[in-house]
Symmetry: C3
Subunit: 274 residues, 3 copies
């Protein structure tokens, strides 16, 4: 009952995803393959890193997650097998697992070099098919990742310079839009925890969320508690501060793109607000 | 060999669908999960209602259909488990099962409230993940839906005011375009049965289908019986009157959108036609 | 552990793909169904023919490939079951298997006529659902394709006039862009073999690839060996000459569409180049 998930920027119009599955099923006929997404923006390692972090907590022990956003395919970049929270991740060593490496849950990192578990012929253009898919199938069948190559230290892997949140001179908590989802919701990089810490005094103060020149007052408990078409700030399903519009699209409403600044301030509940 | 189908407006670019599957497989490792579509227009409960009706007749007894088009997530709207024709449907009580409720096949409706079968932590923004997916997995494993909450009467559920077909003053059968499919086919809400009933005298008369100012004479037996590029009216694979173009796109040809009127008239076979 | 793959032009927004799967699983509950793609351009049999050829080498013996690009549905066109390299293909007899027929691997071709293995009611608009899906499920369960109808000779099937590569008066190898993939890579119809044969003298000569008025000198070993944004020619993962841009989109860079000419010439390594 081995689960293998696939997260790529391959799109769905070519045969690439199907071929990955053929390779996996040829090695491990009983694998259950789950598509996470194949519509990551091409070569967007940062975007992929966010997604990977959000997915694995919902899968069972032993699941193998294959992440193929691999602009450096054919170069000297390594390919990693990572054990994290009793699950496994296979990905290029290009930073796509950065947020995983930031957690305490990482048990082992192996640089995959043992060609015994690859397809017989390895191209320079499609390591997802020739290396990552077959390796994932072997792990799902029970192969110890130690057999794939030598262990690496966590300080040897590539990490993205993921923009951190910060406090500015006025005491605002400043982050940015990390992703815009299918519904046009603006997903920030400010975690629920960051916000709780920032807002311990929130009884007497009101949270205000700033996007461009706009201000949203207060945090909503659900999309539906507002009238249709009204903007709201909310802790979204990934555990990050989101800006949304009930039954609408915040991305168009605020005309912002990923990368735009989002900040949070506190205002006295009964005093003036900007 | 339990089948669980997923029908949502989540799109495919985020991790939302993958997470639903992780939740299901964590509870029921042997479930077979089938994507119906995740590309319903966001929040379009009416469009989803049509699709649900068209799908379940092709699945085996015991299949659980999860339908998550849920603009009211986090509000007081109920979540339903419905037994229909030896299959099960899990959906918000927002009318998305309206066409199912109109059939004689509904055996039981339960309002899902038993948190024992939910994820341990239930968000206000993603009941698909936190409630509907785990409940579906439990039903697929054999849970009786009676354990999920209390039964409801069919007159207690929300139904959409789905536009009916009617006869106008001139004896025309008047319906509308309920959906436009991937091929640009215009799928009306006029069923084959409605048409048969209307056209009993069709030996002596010719059916004429009206879209805007255009008239299509006669019903085709197949797309391919017409020349390429020719418009035709036909009973489509869902059992509804469709307007199509052989190897072309009727939606652009007629420049109409969902909701546009479609009507059917009968003309004496050898007399004048408009 | 029977695999059934699906390759169609159905898109993903309707219920059509889901219904195919329901039909298959109703007949063969243990089938593993793999989506290759459902986003082939509508009615584009030539494009589909390319894809089919690229997929099956990666699947295990016994796999059944269902290919539904079927503009002639409802006409007199046959439906074929083909045995190739211990696998099976089900497709309309419209040329979509042309490249398969060109290989030596084809063992048997059967014209499917035995309605015993169809859905009880066969529409004139959706043979994927009513004939091809159920037949595929029966083959995956072990049905001999000889039971489906009578055998045909290879010279009785429909073949597309797939454009061949040629040598022009100046000794250039001339082909065309057969497909543009998700990454904007231009995939030609010039195989690695064709190129090796053409370039036996490549030690002393340099390959030059011509697209429109542009020339790319030399063949790259990988996308990543060039700087970002630089165009390159490479043998792609399908085994054909491709034109790509490292981390970019060749289709937009060169502003060409499928069908455009691509040619290859040899220039003395130390002499003048055009």
């Amino acid at each position: 009952m081995a689960n293998i998930t696939l997260t790529t920027d391959f799109g769905l119009e070519d045969e690439y995803v199907g071929v990955l599955k053929g390779v996996i099923l040829s090695i491990h006929a009983r694998a259950t393959i789950i598509d996470i997404t194949h519509q990551l923006p091409a070569h967007d390692v940062t975007r992929a890193a966010l997604l990977v972090e959000a997915v694995y907590p919902y899968f069972r022990p032993g699941t193998v997650h294959v992440v193929v956003v691999d602009p450096g395919v054919g170069s000297a970049r390594k390919i990693l097998a990572v054990q994290v929270a009793e699950q496994y991740m296979i990905a290029p060593d290009n930073g796509v697992l950065s947020r995983i490496f930031d957690t305490d849950a990482v048990d082992r990192v192996v640089s995959i070099t043992n060609a015994q578990f690859f397809l017989p012929s390895v191209s320079a253009t499609f390591h997802g098919r020739d290396i990552m898919a077959p390796v994932a199938a072997h792990i799902a069948k029970g192969l110890d990742i130690g057999s794939l190559g030598s262990e690496m230290d966590l300080d040897e892997v590539v990490r993205l310079p993921l923009p951190a949140i910060r406090k500015d001179a006025h005491g605002k908590l400043v982050g940015h839009i990390a992703a815009i989802d299918h519904f046009g919701n603006l997903i920030s990089n400010i975690r629920e925890d960051d916000l709780s810490h920032f807002c311990r005094v929130a009884d007497k103060f009101e949270i205000q969320v700033h996007v461009g020149a706009h201000i949203i007052k207060g945090l909503a408990d659900s999309y539906a508690m507002l009238e249709k078409g009204r903007p709201l700030a909310i802790i979204g399903s990934r555990g990050y501060l989101e800006i949304a519009i009930n039954c609408g699209r915040a991305a168009e409403f605020y005309d912002v793109a990923a990368g735009a600044e989002v900040s949070v301030s506190l205002q006295p509940r009964f005093g003036n607000t900007l």
